[in-house]
Chain length 887, copies 2
């Protein structure tokens, strides 16, 4: 009997792989002459996010390259409306840069190589200079003062760190070749060390050649997780090498040889072209990614066995080719120029991003940034998804918008004489969880499934009636700050908080109890999602807006507040109030009524299901106005209204309590109606007809069966003036709500047993859908999960994630199975549970009079099938014991 303590706390059951965010492109600079390097440049050493950009090309003979800094408009410290340009220097054939605060003034200085030459076959013999440009801290200054550090012909990559000593800034600098067209002579790996007064002396920095490497095309500084000296990862003809300084000596460890020499017999480019170290949870080197051949077409990765220790040195690395983008051109080069590792989906494991410059003839696949996401590291299994479609010489990953999501920026690779990408530009790609698309007059938002996102995503979209409507997606078990006085309307999952006024832990779900209402306001400064995560609209107070009550519609003008980086055509949309009599669907009705409509927002899932979550539209009604009794016989949905302003305090929903044919919607007899007043920041519960256990009743034409119902404004406002109700309609696909049968509060993980039949479990604990559920097995762990917004529970098999479900159809004697594909509204996998004084429970399958969880009684057999048995009133349903499972 294994014991695992999880009584009362719902183990984190959602382990769906994280979904990669979408990236919205923004042009930083178009119409460039050329492009090579892009760097996320923290102007201030304190800028951990909101970095500026530095981008430049190689330039050409007669037109030296402008090293330009682009000021980040999303960093509030910068106060610039767009990516304004600052020319820092004009250099001949600059190649690589890094940065460090050499002067110690809190502003990073730029360290840059130049005088390289126009190509590997035109290396300036006295070039390969390394300089630093002095950042005085004035963000508007241009032409920063240049100081020479040293030089070595063919200088190509540099990195800053403390390589041999902690007290001085050092630069590791490596030429790619030592002289034109000499691809064989190894080049020196040089360490420059900061002199005493770098600012005002003209001496070069002390330089030391610590080893030699051939055709190095990538250099990445790898900090020591224990805070020791920095190490360096090199990619070149020798493959991927890891070098470090230890006890007075420079050491080298070869992670892998990369592309073998005879892969392309006549090609001078084998080994690796770029490399990066991928973090996996707390191991900074869970894998090493690389691209192969100098500018090759192969993406590969080095992985280690799950049991091996953290880090890189002396471990056994196995090379896997992830993808080959196709044949090289006749110069033996392809399209990959750089790989970087970054955890862009927030799941604690780095993804491998691959920068592709494009090709001649053009190819969509070989142009832009691909993301390789680890699926099974040991087997070298990664998934591939394209993030951007514009040429990328390099990728600069940073949280430019300081919202906790990593963004990235690229510069087109365009080197005259080698490869000139059309439309050479610098592009910024902002990560968003929620995308927004213009239909015609409405917007379509697409959101991630909460279980697959690790980020909080939010988009403010409409400022109306002193409320800012914000679409929010929370991952599971995540806390989210809400401004005081905000209201919450849930569209998926659960949002809960400890309410300072009611003193209770308030829970909000898709809909409260039918024909009732519940307050939306959160009396606390944060809310919490639960196991399923949550999608909701937050109604934030819009302080500087005109506050209710509203005497005329001009005070209720809605403002589009969809922010950057969403596309301008979405941000420029207007959402006017249309008098309903003028609406295209009015067809002569609603004449003269103070009744207005505002459309509209579709909310869907951002996966290939494109499933609908809800359609949202707004309504207003003047004093004494009825929005008209209707019953949705035209279109099927389950509609919940959230009130923002109750003009009279008496506005709300009325529904006919008599049969459809006993009520005349055109001359309604209000005595035959029920009323739920919906005060401001309240929502009402389901008003449609429901059957057993809260399932919606349906009409023959597949529409949810509604009684006649309508929103009616109150008769008189306190001051007798006009005073508009303003409410938001959430139209959901049909869903199951609270049934009449109350439920006992249960949660936690248990093994489930009956004295007669023993423990129930999945045959062979198999995860295959349809696996029979048997009684009499060794105990297996089941988790009891409340089905949000109902009085029902799901029973989830912890090991396999399968749900305890009846096979179809749910009839007397039907057997039970495990499945990951539940019926719609979990018709075969939701249970109404009664808790008996003894602590035992009995389980009735949803929407059945009395089909209870039972077992076939074979006298002789130890293991018997678990089945449904009819237990209507007469014979008591079988009782099951919940045996807590302790860790």
């Amino acid at each position: 009997m294994f014991q695992r303590h999880s009584m009362g706390c719902s183990a984190h059951t959602t382990n769906s792989p994280a979904s990669v965010p979408s990236f919205i492109r923004e042009q930083v600079e178009v119409g460039r002459k050329d492009g090579y390097w892009i760097e996320a440049f923290p102007f201030r050493t304190s800028d951990k996010t909101g970095q500026n950009l530095i981008g430049y090309g190689l330039g050409s003979y007669g037109s030296p390259s402008n090293i330009e800094m682009f000021i980040n408009p999303r960093n509030p410290k910068n106060k610039t409306p767009t990516w304004n340009r600052r020319p820092l220097a004009s250099l001949e054939f600059p190649v690589a840069m890094a940065y460090a605060d050499i002067t110690g003034n809190g502003f990073n200085d730029v360290i840059i190589t130049d005088r390289y030459g126009s190509s590997m076959n035109d290396i300036w013999p006295d070039g390969g200079r390394v300089s630093w440009l002095e950042n005085t801290g004035d963000i508007n200054a241009s032409n920063w003062k240049r100081h020479t550090i040293g030089s070595s012909p063919g200088m190509h990559r540099i990195g800053v760190g403390h390589f041999t000593r902690k007290d001085r800034i050092q630069i590791c600098a490596v030429p790619i070749v030592v002289k034109s067209s000499d691809f064989t002579t190894p080049a020196p790996v040089i360490i420059y060390t900061q002199p005493d007064h770098p600012k005002n002396s003209f001496d070069l920095w002390p330089a030391e050649c610590v080893m030699t490497r051939t055709l190095v095309h990538e250099l990445v500084v790898i900090p020591d997780p224990q805070g020791g000296l920095d190490r360096v990862l090199l990619a070149g003809r020798d493959g991927v090498d890891f070098i470090w300084f230890e006890r007075g000596n420079w050491e080298i460890f070869n992670v892998g040889r990369g592309l073998s020499k005879d892969a392309h017999p006549n090609s001078p480019y084998w080994g690796a072209g770029s490399a990066a170290v991928g973090r996996v949870d707390d191991d900074y080197a869970g894998y090493v990614g690389s691209s192969e051949g100098l500018h090759g077409n192969t993406v590969s990765v080095y992985t280690k066995s799950r049991k091996s220790k953290h880090g890189i040195i002396d471990l056994e690395w196995k090379r896997h080719v992830l993808h080959d983008f196709g044949p090289l051109n006749d110069g033996f080069t392809g399209s990959i120029h750089q790989v970087v590792c970054a955890d862009i989906d927030g799941d604690g494991t780095d993804e491998l991003l691959v920068a592709m410059m494009g090709s001649e003839p053009p190819s969509f696949d070989k142009t832009g940034v691909w993301c390789f996401k680890p699926i099974d590291l040991e087997k070298g299994k990664f998934s591939m998804i394209k993030l951007s479609n514009e040429s990328a010489g390099r990728i600069a990953v940073a949280d430019y918008s300081s919202n906790g999501h990593l963004d990235f920026s690229t510069i087109s690779y365009s080197v005259p004489g080698y490869f000139e990408s059309p439309n050479c530009a610098i592009n910024g790609y902002s990560a968003v969880g929620i995308t927004a698309e213009k239909l015609q007059n409405e917007v379509c938002f697409r959101v991630p499934r909460p279980a697959t996102t690790r980020f909080v995503s939010e988009v403010e979209f409409l400022d109306v009636a002193a409320r800012k409507l914000t679409l929010v997606v929370l991952p599971p078990n995540t806390t989210y700050k809400v401004p005081a006085g905000s209201g919450v309307k849930v569209m998926f999952g659960v949002v809960s908080w400890d309410d300072n006024t009611t003193g209770r832990n308030e829970k909000r779900v898709l809909a409260t109890k039918p024909f009732s209402r519940v307050e939306m306001t959160v009396h606390n400064d944060h809310v919490q999602s639960e196991d399923e995560g949550a999608i909701f609209v937050l109604f934030k107070k819009s302080s500087n807006a005109i506050q209710p009550p509203y005497e005329n519609m001009k005070q209720v003008v809605a403002r589009n507040i969809i922010p950057e980086p969403y596309p301008v055509q979405v941000r420029a949309m207007s959402f006017p109030w249309v008098k309903v009599e003028d609406a295209p669907w009015a067809n002569g009705r609603f004449k003269g009524l103070e009744f207005y409509n505002l459309v509209g927002f579709h909310v869907r899932y951002a996966d290939d299901s494109d499933d609908v979550i809800a359609h949202i539209q707004l309504w207003t009604a003047g004093v004494g106005v009825s929005a008209g009794f209707h019953n949705h016989v035209e279109k099927s949905f389950c509609e919940i209204h959230a009130c923002i302003v109750n003009g009279t305090g008496h506005g709300g929903m009325r529904w006919a309590k008599v049969a459809d044919d006993k009520f005349n919607p055109d001359k309604p007899n209000l005595d035959d109606t029920g009323l739920v007043v919906v005060p401001a920041l309240h929502e009402h519960g389901p008003l449609w007809h429901t059957g057993l256990d809260g399932l919606p009743l349906l009409r023959k034409n597949d529409t949810v069966d509604y009684p006649w119902h309508a929103w009616l404004a109150g008769d008189k406002s306190p001051n007798g003036m006009q005073s508009y109700d303003v409410w938001v309609a959430f139209e959901f696909p049909s869903f199951d709500t609270f049934g009449d049968h109350p439920t006992s509060l249960l949660s936690g993980s248990f093994s489930i047993k009956s004295n007669a039949a023993g423990f129930i479990g999945l045959k062979d604990e198999s995860a295959t859908d349809g696996t029979p559920v048997l009684a009499g097995l060794a105990p297996q762990e089941w988790k009891i999960i409340r089905v949000d917004g109902t009085n029902l529970y799901q029973i989830k098999h912890v090991k396999t994630g399968s749900l305890l479900a009846s096979r179809w159809p749910p009839v007397e004697g039907q057997s039970l199975m495990g499945t990951h594909s539940p019926a719609n509204m979990s018709l075969t996998s939701s249970w109404s549970i009664d808790k008996h004084p003894s602590g035992e429970i009995s389980l009735r399958l949803v929407a059945t009079k009395g089909l209870a969880l039972s077992y076939k009684k074979y006298g002789h057999l130890a293991v018997t099938p678990v089945i449904l048995e009819n237990h209507i009133d007469t014979v008591e349903a079988p009782k099951w014991q919940l045996v807590p499972v302790y860790d």
Copy 2:
């Protein structure tokens, strides 16, 4: 009794306004220094479509403007992969151009003005030259030979035509000002007439000043519909003038004065800046559109009363301001630079397109092309929709892709020193009816509602199993050519053709009769849509593909054939076959089965409803493979399979004929199943349970109630080898299909009467939804329309478009009404009609046992309510006479 002959032919009832197509942007040239003029240039006089582009800016001192021709890659005669550039000339300050075949060699020569000066305050006193550039017919030639025509300082607009004589090419040329900064002296309207040997003489063309006009900024040549001399429309400070040569004299008619002088007291710009003539059906001048102030912000239109005659001269034109884009800048200028009229939605009425250059500070609304679409001309009511978002100095409308849809192209307005648009570019905008968007691995197509489009729209999207799948949308009553051997799967409406094999008029609808099958192949070379229009997938033969049978899956590789101008990221998508056991939803099932899946294509409506039409995915199964018995309890849809390849000839759908609980889907007893073999190019009918009149039966969890069913491949292929079935699944939202009650064939328009109660009609013939239907009125015309794919009819009130519908709920005694908002599956507005030998009919409301159309019998009243009355078997349902309506 009015008589209108329409017996037997269904009058064209769909009169929904036409929807404007979507426009997909394609960059023709980016990174331009400047931009001013763009022209659709027919290189050959025969190029009615597929024109090239000519674009240029004003240039600046020291850098004259390159007049560049861009060769249209979509014109097959040009054989160029992209818009390749040809420099035609380098001119100083060119402004306007036109074209004509001056040399008569069948190739248009370019007529162009230059030496204007850098602005209206820097007019070259000896400039304003008019020249023509000689087109030799060699599309690769550059620097075309220039010939001088004449000059007049400040030359700004020209037009080509026969103004005073039909036998020689003439040019109407008008300077905007006669000298720098002189906005008051009227400028000459000059007519140049082609000399005898324009090619080889250096003489200037004879020129004649026919009148003077002030600050003319637009000149449009207006052909005479009766083939007479060409006329000219001028827009300038004098407003909008129409000038023409008649009986030896130049005449002028002022359409309107445009913006009044005192609208902006200190502004030098009043009157009009641009103008265009809008065709309405067969009146070439249904309205005159214009922009006001020289570069103003006002869009206005001149309309005439409906009764006035065609044309412009001597008619009463009323000016309406359609939109004001906001305050002018301190130079009294705004953002509109040109207006053109073009019928881009194909409804026979021109729309007014407005080119907006942008503004400082930038504004989304004032940048790009707006489309103003006439709604009610007499009232000057137009709707506004934005077509493009990039700066537009001018718009060049033409069918560049030669597909029958008008496209357009723009050049950014960028004149140094006046207004320099960022990202100055030439953009092409291709009109498409169907848009395509990448989700993740699936595509989302959006299509117009057939009743609102006047174009045939089609997109080839997948080449698989020797078939090219093509999504097609037909407007109502439209013929569409289909290649021999093509198959049709309808997704909306009706497609019919006279079949050469069956000799019958074959009709295909959403689904054929339940549990049956029907051939999809069209044995004719065209098909026809009916009143509702149609949406369907055409299965064209893919001749050069590997033909079935298919022994291995490599022969069934699907190719993405989505064409330009669809976005590259959609065209680059791949659609791989995934072995079902490896699918994410397999969850351990289907192990080792030769069963593959290919996803997928969502098809929706392109309006704000975003309603689903269908989801499409493909499947293959090897010999002897069952795709697995299932019943869609997880997700609700009505699924129809269209077979492309039947590997054994015996593959098809089986369904359980016994109750759900009597059939074990894991160990199916085939004796308890029905089978419909689905040969290649056949589809099967509904397999779900249906109730009375074909309505789908539903389960409690709002899913369509299916028996267990599965696709099963045949046991053995003819040659005993592996031989895959390939079929396409169309997943539709629930819909009504053929019920058991057969129907009599009826169509046409009638007034409907019963001897006892008289004619039935809408009270006051009101179009308001809910208007009562009464008996005993004067005859009103009703059209009987078959509800496609059912045995039911709708009865549509011709005058108001209302449907004869029961109020809710449909019960004994319920009254009838007219409505434009029918219930879902037209539950209250579909009728099962029995035709009696007498020719009379009786009407039973859908899905009711016997609620028939009847009337309340009040002895004394002449007019009585039409109601539903119960007539189950016993008393015969009331009979109604159909009185044909003859024109």
